[in-house]
Every structure is written in structure tokens, then in C-alpha cells.
């Protein structure tokens, strides 16, 4: 750290002139990357100045992750050159990129789930006592970084027991620990709560003040405008412009990204209350660590409504989702669905009764990465796609093509492995499958996370129409704005308990915020 302080001190007084004189730390020229059936990067030029926070925007499948993977040495470009700190570089593996001072926090986390946070941070790192693991030394260093940037994690916890937000903090520490000069964050905020996002932004700004360069990928225009210095927009594998943030606005960015005007706000009428579809009665359940995660949940979801579940991640949302789906054991209490006690039913039976779920964890529980797109689209209902005990591939393909078209899933063909889709398109695939099943109850956990503006608009509309058809949605989201916009009623979960259920009219972010942090509302 001592070294990086020096140039800082010298330039403190002259911020303006520094802006102008910042040298270029990274220059990517004419990058081409072709995958079977897709040109993911089609001659992209991308240049980043030292010390800036540079936003990288683009629709789902625009090629953002691919471009960064090329930079990070994960993918070999088919054409193009990369200059880092003025030198032409060729990274054959992430190891080379790390050595050069580049760190990347991936869209889908790259963590070993059975290892502790500490071991994940140290993965591949040579501590002073190498090959021994110098934990003492590492701990004190990490604590220093944690304090410096305000990024706290429990170092001795296994990743598998962590919320996504925590996992991301581990990822960021992993990069910072290696003294990176350039940090790539691939859609970091899509998994964060508003408060966590605020904290991340503070950390980013501190990094940039320390002379660190940050590339920040996002779909959220407001965030890009809030935190970046410059923004580059990708569309269909091409760079369509680099803008100075303070001279642009949401409208211009959206137009650049999509190529047309988009409207994000959605009309939602208050639904007429109907009978209860799912009732949880005094439900208790444990988390993976064997500790009580749900402590006597009472909650009703009515037909025709969207019930929003607000709360900071890690307060029992995941367990609640799993209890309803049937993958987690109920310790005490009952679940009544459509008048029937389903507490003891298995997952299959619940699916058949009409319970659908867009799980929080897309890759692990949402899909089968090595099956094709069309197979993934029938994952829950494959018996319906068979004739005399044999799979009916004609029907499966037709079904897939319909959904690909309807939900705008970008894929070269329904036959490619689902793993090759971009992050947002994996998300679309899961949503398409769950909505097309026509269930009675849809549990939607962070349904718009990772989607671009057009995708968000589409999914939100679908959720609203779905509920208006007399079905119910349990919307689990950390995006308060999304919850406020879509929900008829809003329940707030805190440490495994429902702290309150508010009608839409009486809810405001302040009240929800109080409940989310464990406070009580004063009766008026």
C-alpha cells in the first residue's frame, strides 16, 4: 500500500488536471471472439484510464462477460490486441492476468463451496511461509483490507453457508488481496441489497481514490450514472460508444444499449383479495448449518396477488423458498396449499400440484448446465413431452422454439448446452420454463437479477399478468423498488421471523427499512 500513496499525495491538490492527464492503463483493440454459432465480440475497441471507474453496459448477451474473460486470460481471442500499462500483453491463463495486476469478480462466483472464506481468498496465493499456509499473516492483511474498504466477511465460514452477498465480498477480497491494479466487477450489484450496494459503491470510490482502476459491468443505468467516470456501451458484440458519465443520462444510455426507447415503469392495479392459496402455519426450519433459520413463520399468500418478501439476504429467504418447494425439511408447523396439507409431500408432488419456483441459485438448482437449452426448458415436465414412453423430440423442439421466441432467449440454437448462454439468458431460460408451466403459485426469487432493462420490463409485466389471472406470486427480492412496484402486500423477514405484513398503500421504503433491520413500527 505504501507505494500507491505516493502519487496520490502529489496529485491531491490538482484533481482537475489529473483527470485530463490520466494515462491509459488498458487498451483493447479490435477484439474478436467467436463461439460456435455466435460472434460474442465483433471487433471491440475498449480503453480505460488509470484510476477511473469505467462502466461497461449492454443488454444480455451483448458480449460484456466475454470481453472481460478475454482480458482476464480465460478466453483466447480470435483476433485483436491488448495493451496493459503501455505494454502489449498476451495472457494465456488467468494466472498471467493476476500477475500483471488484473483481478476479476465473476458474474457467477468462482468459489470452492466446501472451503472456508479464508482458504478461498488464499487460493493459489503464496504466503510468506509457502508452501505452508500462513493464516496469521493472511488474516491480519485481510482485516486491514476489510477495514480500509469496509468489506467484512466471516473468514472461517464455509462458502456453502454464505448468502450471495457475503460470497461476493469474499470474491472482492480475493482480488484485493492480490494487490490488483485493475479490478473487473461483472454485474456485482445484481446480487446486492440497496444497502450493500451503497457500501460497495463507497468501497469502489475508495479504491479509485487509491489509484485502483475499476471496470464495472451493470445493467442498472442509475448505478452506472452514480458511480462511474466513463461508460462504454456494447451492443450485439460491438462497442457503440464511450461516454463521459456526467455528460449523459439514462435515456441516452438506454437508447444506445437497446437501440430503441424503453419504458421501465409498470402499471400495476391493486388486486381484489381472493381466497388464500398457500398458508404457512408456525413453520420452523433449520439452515445447512443446523441452526434455526425459520422461527415460526405465519404467512398467507392469496390468489390474485403478488406478495413481496423484503429482507436483507441471509435472513431465511432461501430456507423459506426451499421449504415451500419441498427441498428443505420442516421441523415444526404446517403448509396448507389450496386447502391441502402439503407438509409431508415431496418435490415432484408439489410440482404436480402447481408450485413453481425461480430459485435464487440459478446454476446450482435452477438448471442443468450440460443439458441443452430445449432439455432445460422441459426439466420439470418431461413426462408431458413423451409419447409411449419415448421422448417426443419434435414436440420438445417446438416448445423450445416457442419459448425462445416469446422470452427473447438469445441462443444460437435450442440444441446448444445451456451452460454456453450468457448470464442474463440463463435467467430468461429459467423464467420461461417456470412461467410456461402455468403453475398456481410461483415463487420468484430475485427474478430480475442480472437482466437488462428490456428483460426486467418483460419479466415484471409477466409477473403482473400472471397474478391477474388469479394465481399467486411470492416475490422474494432485495430490490426494494421492485417490491414496492409489484407487490400487493409486503412481508418483511428478519432473522427467520416475519416482522410485519404491510398493505401496499401503507408501505414506504422507510417503514420497510425499519422492519428489515429488526425494528418495530410504532402503532398509529
Amino acid at each position: 500500500m505504501g507505494e500507491s500513496m505516493e502519487p496520490m499525495g502529489a496529485s491531491m491538490g490538482a484533481m482537475e488536471s489529473m483527470e485530463a492527464n490520466r494515462d491509459t492503463i488498458l487498451e483493447m483493440k479490435d477484439i474478436v471472439k467467436v463461439f460456435p454459432g455466435v460472434v460474442a465480440n465483433d471487433g471491440v475497441n475498449f480503453s480505460v484510464k488509470r484510476g477511473e471507474i469505467h462502466g461497461l453496459l449492454g443488454e444480455n448477451g451483448a458480449g460484456k462477460t466475454t470481453l472481460m474473460s478475454v482480458l482476464y486470460g480465460l478466453y483466447k481471442p480470435d483476433n485483436g490486441e491488448i495493451f496493459f500499462e503501455g505494454k502489449r500483453v498476451e495472457f494465456n491463463s488467468p494466472g498471467d492476468a493476476i500477475k500483471a495486476g488484473i483481478g476479476m469478480v465473476h458474474q457467477h462466483f468462482m468459489l470452492v463451496s466446501k472451503m472456508t472464506a479464508l482458504n478461498n481468498i488464499l487460493l493459489g496465493y503464496r504466503t510468506p511461509k509457502d508452501p505452508m499456509m500462513d493464516y496469521e499473516w493472511a488474516r491480519s492483511r485481510i482485516e486491514e483490507l476489510s477495514k480500509m474498504y469496509g468489506i467484512e466477511v466471516n473468514l472461517d465460514e464455509k462458502i456453502i453457508n454464505m448468502s450471495v452477498g457475503e460470497q461476493q465480498r469474499v470474491e472482492i477480497l480475493k482480488a484485493l488481496f492480490r494487490d490488483v491494479k485493475l479490478l473487473i466487477l461483472d454485474e456485482p450489484t445484481s446480487v446486492l441489497t440497496p444497502a450493500e450496494t451503497e457500501r460497495l459503491f463507497k468501497a469502489l470510490k475508495r479504491m479509485s481514490a487509491e489509484g485502483l482502476t475499476v471496470i464495472f459491468i451493470t445493467h442498472k443505468l442509475r448505478e452506472a450514472l452514480e458511480v462511474t467516470d466513463r461508460i462504454t456501451v456494447l451492443r450485439k458484440g460491438k462497442d457503440v460508444g464511450t461516454l463521459i458519465t456526467k455528460n449523459t443520462n439514462e435515456r441516452e444510455l438506454a437508447r444506445l444499449m437497446v437501440g430503441r426507447e424503453v419504458e421501465v415503469s409498470i402499471e400495476k392495479k391493486k388486486s381484489a383479495a381472493k381466497e388464500v392459496l398457500l398458508r404457512l402455519e408456525n413453520v420452523y426450519a433449520k439452515n445447512d448449518r443446523g441452526l434455526l433459520a425459520l422461527k415460526g413463520i405465519n404467512l398467507s399468500i392469496r390468489r390474485g396477488e403478488i406478495l413481496g418478501l423484503a429482507g436483507v439476504s441471509g435472513n431465511g429467504q432461501k430456507e423459506l423458498e426451499e421449504v415451500i418447494v419441498g427441498t428443505r425439511k420442516v421441523e415444526k408447523g404446517r403448509l396448507i396449499f389450496n386447502g391441502k396439507d402439503i407438509t409431508g409431500l415431496g418435490v415432484r408432488k408439489r410440482i404436480a400440484l402447481g408450485i413453481s419456483c425461480i430459485p435464487e441459485d440459478r446454476i446450482e438448482t435452477g438448471m442443468a448446465p450440460s443439458l441443452s437449452v430445449e432439455e432445460n426448458l422441459i426439466l420439470r415436465d418431461f413426462p408431458n413431452f413423451s409419447k409411449n414412453g419415448f421422448m417426443d423430440f419434435g414436440q420438445i423442439e417446438a416448445h423450445a422454439e416457442r419459448l425462445i421466441e416469446e422470452f427473447g432467449i438469445k441462443t444460437p440454437s435450442p440444441k446448444v448446452e445451456a451452460r454456453t448462454l450468457s448470464g442474463g439468458n440463463i435467467q430468461r431460460l429459467i423464467i420461461a420454463r417456470e412461467l410456461s408451466r402455468n403453475p398456481l403459485l410461483l415463487i420468484a426469487s430475485q427474478p430480475t437479477r442480472g437482466l437488462d432493462v428490456a428483460g426486467i420490463e418483460y419479466v415484471r409485466k409477466r409477473l403482473v399478468t400472471f397474478s391477474e389471472e388469479g394465481k399467486a406470486v411470492l416475490l422474494i427480492s432485495e430490490d426494494l423498488e421492485e417490491i414496492m412496484q409489484l407487490s400487493d402486500r409486503i412481508a418483511v423477514i428478519y432473522e427467520g421471523e416475519i416482522k410485519g405484513v404491510l398493505e401496499r398503500e401503507e408501505a414506504d421504503p422507510e417503514k420497510i427499512g425499519i422492519l428489515m433491520s429488526g425494528g418495530e413500527l410504532e402503532e398509529t
Binding site: Y75, P94, I98, H108, G124, P131, P369
Partner: protein
């Protein structure tokens, strides 16, 4: 005391009989921890056994034989590593091919070795111990038995306390995560498979040069397969492998010993015991381990970088 003597000699023999299993199991634990399954263990062991026997026969030096056995195992493992790690060929297929290759090759090349007497590994003479009753019996072994015992804490240490162990674990759990942290996935896997083959080869050589003290066609008699089960039984942990190996060694010995003291059950039935036990152990460990962290998550899956997840 006839019984105490019987038990002492049984324990001693279990350790000797368990040592080939221990070497091969430890080796396979390393390979599997990196994510590569070597179903060809039987072939690797038998090749080590024959090569070791042959080299000891012609040089008169059993240690050269042990080394040669290890190298032979390593060479077979090299084939496995090349196909599965470099060429990403299916691990099960390649492994089975190794079994056939090993058994066929040794059956053919070892024809003339059957019935020959090589120089065997001699037991260590520990000065003081030899005067203590029973204990002297229990602890009178060839040095390789002790090497095996010593390997257990060594591997435990390497796997749990060093960067090498962490990287090995990461590569077998989530190769993509390891790759993004600059760890060379294929290099580690390649090495792990080679080490696994080397240890299995030594195990085989111990079998022919210290335990069985003969060469016959198919000398390993399914021990390679038992070791694959032992890896599961041990939960991929070296410290548990030693118990499994000695236990199976004991069962093997027991079937002989009972025969010797005139236990009136068919020889063939007694020979079946280790295999039946293998099945029981597998059942048991599957049921018990279900909740815990068991097999390496990426076991059996080749890693190709541009293919996500």
C-alpha cells in the same frame, strides 16, 4: 496363550497384507481429490507387482524391484493422465482399458516368472523390540510397512496444511474457480494421477515382493477394485484409509488363518469375505456420508476452459 499369539500374528499379518492396499488407496485418494478417477487401479497394481518381481529376480535387489514397480505404475498412469487430462477422454473408459492392459500384459510377460523365487523384502530387526513378547511379533515388518504408516500423516499434512493440498482440493471441487485464480488445473491433475500410479505400483510390488512372495497370473486378485472402494470408505481422507486398508488386509489374512487352524468352512467361501465386505462397506459409507461432504464435486469431469461451469 494360544489365543494371544494368534491375535498377535493376525494383527501383524493384517498390517503386511494391508500395506499394498494402503499404498494404492493413498495414491487413488490423491488422484481422485484432483478430480480424476482411475478405475484402472487393478491393472496398475498388477503391473507394479510383476515388474517389481521381475526386477528383483534379475538384479537380486528387492528395493530396485519396488522402485521398478512404482515406475511401472507411473507409466500406466501416464497413459491414463494423457488420455483423460490432456485429451479429455472419458475417465471410466480409459480406466477400464488400463485394467485390461495391465492384466493382459502381465499375464503374457509374466508367464516365465511363475514359480520363480525372487529376492524378497526382509523384515526389519529392531534391536530392543525383539525381546518384548507379542509386540515384537506385531511390529516385525519389512520397512515398506513403516513407509506406508509414515505416508499417512505426511499426506494428511500435505493435503490439509499446505498450499499444495488446497490447490489439489480446489481443482477437484471447482476447477473453474481454481483456474481463475491462476492454478494450472491440468498440471495438478496430471501430477496427481502420476503420483497415484506410482503409489499403486509400489503397492503392487509390495504384494509380490513382501506379502505373497510369488508371482502368479492375476496376483492382485481384485485388490485394485477393493482399493477403489476403500477410497470411498475413507471419505477421501488418508487418516481413514489406513484403517480400511488394514481391516481388509485382516479379512484377507483371516480367511487363511482360519483355514490353517482347521475352521470347517469351505476355502472358497472364506475367500469371498473381503469382497462381500467391500459391498457392505460401500453401502454403509454411502448411507452414512450422505449428509456430509463426500466425493470431490468435479470427480470424473474433464475440465475444458472455454466451457463454462
Amino acid at each position: 496363550m494360544i489365543e494371544a499369539e494368534f491375535i498377535a500374528s493376525l494383527i501383524a499379518a493384517s498390517m503386511r497384507a494391508g500395506t499394498p492396499l494402503l499404498f494404492a488407496t493413498l495414491g487413488e485418494i490423491i488422484a481422485e481429490r484432483s478430480g480424476v478417477l482411475n478405475l484402472g487401479l487393478e491393472g496398475v497394481m498388477v503391473t507394479g507387482a510383476m515388474t517389481g518381481f521381475y526386477v528383483s529376480l534379475i538384479t537380486g535387489n528387492p528395493w530396485l524391484g519396488i522402485l521398478a514397480g512404482g515406475i511401472a505404475g507411473l507409466l500406466l498412469a501416464l497413459i491414463h493422465a494423457f488420455f483423460t487430462v490432456s485429451l479429455k477422454v472419458d475417465q471410466a473408459v480409459t480406466g477400464l482399458m488400463l485394467v485390461l492392459l495391465g492384466l493382459g500384459l502381465t499375464g503374457f510377460l509374466g508367464r516365465d516368472l511363475v514359480g520363480k523365487v525372487a529376492t524378497y523384502l526382509q523384515p526389519l530387526n529392531v534391536p530392543f523390540l525383539s525381546t518384548v513378547p507379542y509386540l515384537s511379533e506385531i511390529l516385525k515388518h519389512d520397512p515398506l510397512v513403516y513407509v506406508g504408516i509414515f505416508l499417512v500423516p505426511l499426506l494428511w499434512f500435505l493435503m490439509n496444511k499446505t498450499r499444495y493440498g488446497m490447490e489439489l482440493f480446489a481443482v477437484g471441487e471447482n476447477p473453474e474457480a481454481a483456474d481463475t485464480m491462476g492454478i494450472h488445473v491440468d498440471k495438478i491433475r496430471f501430477l496427481a494421477v502420476l503420483i497415484g500410479g506410482f503409489l499403486a505400483g509400489i503397492g503392487g510390488a509390495h504384494l509380490s515382493l513382501a506379502y505373497a512372495k510369488v508371482w502368479t497370473d492375476g496376483l492382485t486378485a481384485g485388490r485394485g477394485w477393493i482399493c477403489l472402494a476403500l477410497v470411498i470408505f475413507s471419505g477421501w481422507m488418508p487418516q481413514r484409509a489406513i484403517f480400511g486398508a488394514y481391516l481388509f488386509g485382516g479379512l484377507d489374512v483371516l480367511s487363511f488363518k482360519l483355514q490353517a487352524i482347521g475352521f470347517g468352512v469351505s476355502y472358497h467361501f472364506m475367500r469371498m469375505i473381503p469382497y462381500v465386505f467391500t459391498i457392505l462397506v460401500l453401502l454403509f459409507s454411502v448411507i452414512k456420508e450422505k449428509e456430509k461432504f463426500g466425493a470431490p464435486s468435479a470427480l470424473g469431469k474433464p475440465y475444458i476452459r472455454e466451457q463454462k461451469f
